[in-house]
Amino acid sequence: MGVWTMAGVTFREAARKKVLWMALVAGAGFLTLFATGLHFQVKDLASQSISPVLRREIMNTMLTMGLYAVDLLAVLMTILTSVDTLSGEIASGTIQAVATKPVPRSQILLGKWFGFVAMITIYIIIMVGGVNAVTYFIGGVMARHLLRGFAFMWMETLVLLSLTFVFGTYFSTITSGVLALGLHGIAFIGGWIEQFGAITHTQRAVNVGIVASLLIPSEALWRRAAFEMQSPLASAMRMSPFSSVSVPSLIMVGYAGLYILAALLLAVRRFSQRDL
């Protein structure tokens, strides 16, 4: 019971955050820009004698690029909206009025987590749906395995959300934010090192990337999502800079699932034991 009460109020609290609305405004701005660019590209391509296959690949690349931008927005939005929900309320004492109610602390934390999950889910649905709608209606293409891609992007935000929750039970808001963003930065760089390692057949560079993904599997999930959503040809040709050359395996996806679970358990444990 307590979980859902907390989830409800957290969702409403999160939905009031300026960060969320800014992310939506930025998202809308991005979609408009994306649609306009795509529109002109389609027009220009129509005037050139270009093979339909190539035209399709260009559209698919645009789609992946759009999804990449959405992914970045979702990552930032996840971290920035949730970063002060624990540390901020602990610092201000707001949490005291809640933690003295007959609701176990684990339920308070999980309730907050579910509240954010609901908000982030809606955000990704709107944004991923928006990009696909734009490419479908203007360029005639859609992501190949849209649902799978969506699921992996969603999972990526859950990794970051859970990690941000862990930091929130230990550190101040600013420190938690810096740590979460910093770690995602490591995953991001690690991902590129792995990509180039794969292109240049440098196994040790690939290993560096895998280690980064083990540290935080967020970027790996994006690359898996991109792999699921890009066209079969792009996968075969391994040509797009935004998609995956070295594709994270399903083992990595399983690892990410365990990672989320472990992070949540750690956050619950720490939150249940710490002084409020």
Binding site: G2, R16, T100, K101, P102, D275, L276
Partner: protein, 306 residues
């Protein structure tokens, strides 16, 4: 019997980093008592309350409330708490806040719909029932916080500086609420540095300094307390003084005044009788009850707790 005690702590201690917040708190509060927790700022009052509520884990020692270990989730259903600075999401209205906290207490929606209007009325916020907390003054926040602490008809209520930020009407309200909780049979722990509030509301107080109970005293039945007495009398013979010395702890003659220190005011009639029998003319007998404020200042010392 532990179950007769609303609060019981033994050698409770809390150290934050290297700083001792609560040194050695041993305390027993009976059910139905209104208990005042008095001490200067930084004496560890709030930390003690937070330990009793399970918000802060003790470094050592034990604490029990309502016969269960402090922090027990089920017991919290019978506890109300007004934090020192009551804050909550400021976009909620008064009614929404109380409904939310009621749900956290596990109270049914139907029951809440019955209780919330009454509580808003009790704390004088009915005209502001649909106003958002962000437009509330500090005093209004204290009032809604108070209503929130009474939602579950608690057996034990912790009020941490409830009158801070309140005007005289608000203070009167807090006093009345404490009184009605007492009549209901609830136990109240009032954490305050406002001595007058404590003096009016409490049955018993503990003076806390540097995280230790320095003294507890009854406020209503002080017959048994040691006190000073000043007697104005004439014709006091040596014989009479000698007799007084056997009845009082100390006797001093200052002109026509006899300054006594007695272990209990119960001996006063005997003292008067003795003086009269020895031929003295007694004009005045005045017990010098040490006021809460004097005792507070005595305990806190000249540094004012800074």
């Amino acid at each position: 019997m532990t179950s007769d005690l609303a609060i019981s702590t033994r050698r409770l201690r809390k150290v934050f980093g290297g700083k001792v917040a609560v040194r050695n708190l041993s305390l027993e509060v009976s059910r139905g008592e209104v208990f005042g927790f008095l001490g200067p700022n930084g004496a560890g009052k709030s930390t003690s309350v937070n330990m009793l509520l399970g918000l802060v884990a003790p470094s050592s020692g034990t604490a029990a409330i309502l016969g269960r270990p402090a922090g027990d989730a089920e017991t919290r259903a019978k506890v109300g708490f007004l934090p020192e600075h009551f804050r909550f999401y400021d976009w909620l209205t008064s009614v929404e806040l109380l409904m939310l906290h009621g749900r956290l207490y596990g109270i049914s929606h139907a029951e809440l719909r019955r209780r919330v209007p009454g509580l808003l009325d009790r704390v004088g916020l009915t005209p502001h029932r649909d106003r958002r907390l962000r437009d509330f003054s500090k005093g209004m926040l204290q009032r809604i916080g108070l209503a929130q602490a009474l939602l579950n008809d608690p057996d034990l209520i912790f009020l941490d500086e409830p009158t801070s930020g309140l005007d005289p009407f608000g203070r009167r309200l807090v006093r009345d609420i404490i009184q009605s909780q007492r009549e209901r049979g609830a136990t109240v722990l009032l954490n305050s540095h406002l001595l007058s509030e404590v003096e009016i509301s409490c049955d018993r107080v503990a003076f806390v300094k540097e995280g230790e109970v320095v003294e507890t005293r009854e406020l209503n039945s002080s017959l048994e307390e040691p006190t000073g007495v000043i007697i104005r009398a004439a014709d006091v013979s040596r014989d009479a003084v000698a007799a007084l010395q056997s009845l009082a702890r100390s006797v001093r003659i200052e002109g026509e005044h006899i300054v006594l220190s007695v272990s209990s005011t119960r001996v006063l009639p005997q003292i008067v009788r003795c003086l009269v029998e020895k031929g003295a003319q007694v004009y005045e007998v005045t017990p010098q009850r040490l006021s809460l404020e004097e005792r507070f200042l005595e305990i806190v010392g000249s540094d004012g707790g800074l």
